[in-house]
Amino acid sequence: MEKFITLSSTVVPLPIENVDTDQIIPARFLKATSKEGFGDNLFRDWRYDNKNNPNPDFVLNNPLYSGSILVAGKNFGSGSSREHAAWAIAGYGFRVVVSSFFADIFKNNALNNGVLPVVVSEGFLQDIFETVTADAQNTLTVDLEKQVIRNNASGREEKFGINSYKKNCLLQGYDDIDFLLSNKDKIQAWENENN
């Protein structure tokens, strides 16, 4: 996994609430047997009309907006547990998703795929939407070490939470299976005691 330390980037704003995993990656794209290529179908039904023409009103098709930070309305990633949603977001090139609330399982899936979910206050979120609407070139800086997100246009900063285990994993580009397997003797001990 790629390390994550700090990131400054322009943002892609998606001021919609309750974006569920079916919107992020519609079920009909779940048939792949590898992790590659999901980014192409991120937000598929919003991004393209039913004749597969790009929908010019959707933000990913708006040349003004780009960057590796997605900023979305409250309750992002609700719906199914499909990790494909996280792959689609990672595959598209986002490394951070900012919202005022995330569905639990999405948060986990994102972290497991090197995407950092940043929870901010509703006020901070609206501040981002305002500044990027005013100027699409405005940037955010996410400092994982300090756990601080900064809106460089307004100067507003906020601390965000992350559990220290996941934080370490991201900072070091280290993964969960490495950790679990290092405890093989404890797994065996548990089984001896409980079976």
């Binding site: 919609i16 609430e17 309750n18 569920d20 079916d22 919107q23 519609p26 079920a27 009909r28 779940l30 048939k31 792949a32 047997t33 590898s34 992790k35 039904d45 039913n50 409250k74 309750n75 609700s78 719906g79 199914s80 547990s81 499909r82 990790e83 996280a86 609330f101 569905a103 639990d104 399982i105 986990n108 899936n109 497991n112 795929n113 559990n163 220290s164 285990y165 996941k166 969960d176 299976i177 950790f179 679990l180 397997l181 405890n183 093989k184 404890k186 797994i187 548990w190 089984e191 409980n194």
Partner: protein, 464 residues
């Protein structure tokens, strides 16, 4: 301080705690389906790992499979590839596989409890959020992502942060014509789709205890639609009677021993929950949904809320949902024409659901313009329908039973509701496009579905 039922099971399965991090939790049972597992198998291969405990994993294809002509090769090449990949992976890694046409094939969340693979006190995972179904007999079942699936394969354990605990009590008695699905949709409508996020729920109270085991599976199945990590019910005589004699359930002396342990599985009197919620069973009507998330539900005789009654922050999504559905604020849905009926899924694809539906339609005729997809949750349910004569009654009324699978619940196979059409569906999700691009889903229980299938309209089954 006493412990909750959830704590008792969780604490028993802790292998190690990461300092200021998640817990390494031992997993007793792992179910695998064709959609969320291939990348995990691939990951194992890339790391040159084998399963730590292959005998604890069961692989069952269910999401993609066709519900007709299961004896022939799967037509859709992509679906066929996923199913074949699961079979090849199961063989390569030495895990049990109940493939297409196998007597134990079906939707995992239907097959697990019905075969006794799902038992009280277990920790159970599957790369599928409706895994919470398996908590109904008093287990801790969690939906996990594919990275976590790989963890279970490699280490028979996962890393999890302990959720908070919530108890939802439903006191009193359900009214006639009101079932477990209505109870669940009512609770979700009250709690909203994010209302239990971060919590593991224990359902309790008279009305919950009065549910049959299959009703409990339906209720627990839907827990995640309010954001919960899962929802469980303390095991009791209903649970034990249901499990006894099932194929993989313990037998003889092992049964007696297991039973003695299971009987202690309940929250202590003085256990403290992070949140407690109470509802009255008599407030619950047969439910339907009118929007595009399961929390947008109402009693079938009620009207869609007015825009002004919606929290200002939610008005845009409310209006968007109604536009998608083609409904108006303040409208009653009774008498609304519908096009499709879907009976099935891990929510309502069990034998009791088929009995309830069949009982209702017996001696009547399906509305000719309605397309009805009746999809048993498993091969065993299909078989039982035949043995109990349900299939015959259904056929006389103009219905055809399809073969088991997830089917129109998420429309990954051919069973897609066409754009703009209305479906009364006993499944669990009414998201935009869930049942096919542009499909309009109205979630309901089996009786509302049966009434709709006969009348071609949204009809209160109590006044049919």
């Amino acid at each position: 301080m006493g412990k909750t039922l959830f704590d008792k099971i969780w604490d028993r399965h802790v292998i190690a705690a990461v300092p200021d991090g998640p817990t390494q939790l031992y997993i007793d049972r792992h179910y695998c389906h064709e959609v969320t597992s291939p990348q995990a198998f691939q990951g194992m291969r890339n790391r040159k790992l084998s399963f730590l405990r292959p005998e604890k994993t069961y692989a069952i294809p269910d999401h993609n499979i066709p519900t007709v002509d299961q004896d022939k090769a799967i037509q859709d090449p992509v679906s066929r590839k996923q199913v074949d990949t699961l079979q090849d992976n199961a063989r390569e890694f030495g895990i049990s596989y109940f493939g297409l046409g196998h007597p134990k094939n079906g939707v995992i969340h239907v097959v697990g409890p019905a075969t006794g693979l799902t038992l009280p006190r277990m920790t159970i995972v599957c790369g599928d959020w409706h895994s919470s179904t398996h908590s109904a007999p008093g287990a801790v079942a969690l939906g996990i992502g594919t990275s976590e699936v790989e963890m279970v394969m490699a280490a028979q354990s996962i890393l999890q942060t302990k959720p908070q605990k919530m108890r939802i009590k439903v006191e009193g008695k359900l009214k006639p014509g009101v079932g477990a699905k209505d109870m669940a949709l009512y609770i979700i409508a009250q709690m909203t789709t994010g209302g239990a996020t971060g919590f593991f729920v224990e359902y309790a109270g008279e009305a919950v205890q009065a549910l049959t085991m299959e009703g409990r599976l339906t209720l627990c199945n839907l827990s995640i639609e309010m954001g919960a990590r899962g929802g469980m019910i303390a095991p009791d005589q209903t649970t034990f009677d249901y499990i006894k004699g099932r194929e993989f359930a313990p037998k003889g002396a092992a049964w007696e021993q297991a039973l003695a342990g299971w009987k202690t599985l309940r929250s202590d009197e003085d256990a403290v929950f992070d949140q407690e919620v109470q509802f009255k069973a008599e407030d619950i009507e047969p439910m339907i949904t009118y929007g595009t998330n399961p929390g947008m539900g109402m009693g079938i005789t009620e009207s869609i809320p007015q825009l002004e009654s919606i929290d200002p922050a939610g008005r845009t999504s409310f209006s968007k949902a109604l536009d998608y559905m083609g409904f108006k604020p303040g409208e009653s849905l009774l008498g609304k024409k519908i096009d499709y009926v879907f009976l099935g899924s891990c929510t309502n694809g069990r034998i009791e659901d088929f009995r309830a539906f069949t009982q209702f339609i017996k001696g009547r005729q399906k509305a000719p313009e309605v397309v009805a997809w009746l999809v048993p949750g498993s091969k065993a349910v299909e078989q039982q329908c035949r043995e109990e004569g349900l299939t015959e009654i259904l056929e006389k009324a103009g219905f055809v039973l399809r073969q088991p699978g997830c089917s129109a619940c998420l429309a990954m196979n051919e069973d897609k509701i066409p754009a703009g059409k209305y479906a009364v569906s006993t499944s669990n999700r009414n998201f935009e496009g869930r049942q096919g691009p542009g499909a309009r889903t109205i979630l309901a229980g089996p009786l509302v579905a049966a009434a709709a299938a006969l009348s071609g309209r949204i009809t209160d089954p109590r006044t049919f």
